[in-house]
Symmetry: C2
Subunit: 254 residues, 2 copies
């Protein structure tokens, strides 16, 4: 792989260019790409042109680039994430129809939960991340349930790292978080109120795959004090859906 003068590979630089595009910034000029990717302007322009030739970026009006359809196709047609999301979607729809709140499915990516599917309800509370968005594991119920079932070294390393806070309720003490994870394993579900947004409660359960391993977290985001959350009704709905997803994953594996 050809390296730049800084020893960075072409792939690393292309990755940084793609990472400059987000749900909020879907259209960028060459200059914006250079700034966001931390690359010299000439390098960013040349790479963006190469990527456009390949269909990984596309030129649109006003000299802007967008992420190209070709990349979407390459990333999705054999994707485990799309496959998991599609398996889960009908069961998420069942929860959504009954509870009328946001339902989301996430997997672990490093120290974060990556949301692979979400069903939103127009009247539900506002929430942060969209599909393909990320949240710190310890700040969302979906992330907490994944962290609680991660291999022990992953949990230890997570607890040893910096624990960011976005509200006053965000847990930043490793001992408090460790006790939280223990409780999640004991009860089989995670609940957090206000860790990410004030007045918002997240509730999540693990989704197991063909074996016993946890392959995803399935969560609902609702208003703090929602009577359905207090009564355990949301947890039961989530467990039922998680069971259905697992059954379908096992049937598909045959």
């Amino acid at each position: 792989m050809a390296n730049s003068p800084t020893g960075e590979s072409v792939l690393e630089r292309v990755d940084r260019i793609l990472a400059a595009f987000t749900a909020e910034d879907t259209r960028l000029t060459g200059g914006q790409i250079a700034a966001l990717a931390g690359l010299p302007t000439a390098t960013a322009h040349r790479l963006a042109q190469d990527m456009a030739r390949q269909g990984w970026l596309e030129r649109v009006e006003g000299g802007h680039y967008v992420v190209g359809t070709r990349l979407w196709e390459l990333a999705n047609r054999s994707s485990r994430e799309l496959s998991l999301a599609r398996t889960a979607r009908p069961f998420m729809g069942d929860i959504h129809a009954v509870l009328r709140q946001h339902v989301q499915l996430g997997i672990v990516e490093g120290r974060e939960v990556l949301l692979v599917e979400r069903l939103s309800h127009p009247n539900a509370v506002a929430v942060r991340a969209a599909v393909a968005g990320r949240l710190p594991l310890h700040l969302s119920a979906t992330g907490l349930v994944l962290l609680a079932h991660a291999p022990a070294p992953v949990q230890e390393s997570y607890l040893a790292g910096p624990l960011s806070a976005v509200t006053e309720a965000s847990p930043t003490d490793p001992q408090v978080l460790a006790a939280d994870l223990e409780r999640i394993r004991a009860t089989g579900h995670a609940v957090q109120t206000g860790y990410l947004e004030p007045d918002t409660t997240g509730i999540a359960v693990p989704v197991r795959g063909r074996g016993e391993q946890v392959v995803a977290g399935l969560g609902v985001v609702t208003r703090a004090g929602d009577p359905a959350a207090r009564a355990g009704a949301i947890v039961q709905a989530l467990h039922t859906a998680a069971h259905g997803i697992r059954r379908t994953l096992r049937e598909d594996a045959r």
Copy 2:
């Protein structure tokens, strides 16, 4: 961009490696990647390792690679395809609930229709392409409706190119196909029976965006001779859903 001895860029070779992975072949060894991508084995191995370092591929059991979560995230988080699919999905669900057949949404990519969303019904007829799969424009109703509304030079170039056939009914005569496109524009919908699979009928309508331009094709795949298709009920359901998608795209643009 550094070039190989054949003058091919790193991006071109990485694109070919990613293209080796499909819905059927989701796990490949380095040797299989080399064969499918038409690359020297050593080159394929080295590039696959570089891609794995970047998270674009991932190593799984048995020395296989799969397309990585990182690439899925980069391709989806600012994606117009995901955004269009998510806007269309509730309306596709309405059709699906009423008609109980496959419903699909496609966009033009070169000489093919790329399926960006599909809802399938377990009892519906078997069909070929999955999400992120492709079909030749002239062999599927969704593709035909897109071709009929493509700019004139695109249509002319398509008609001048080779028209592949997969069944005896597949149209291979440019004049017959041109008349088909004319009829699609006049009636506002496309119908094909047996072009792609015997005993299967596809019906599709255009989805317009914020302006008058056609941004997608919305189609249903059903059994040949389905009474709902004959009575025009499917076309009306598709037009209603296409209208809903357009309305939502316009509202979102405000």
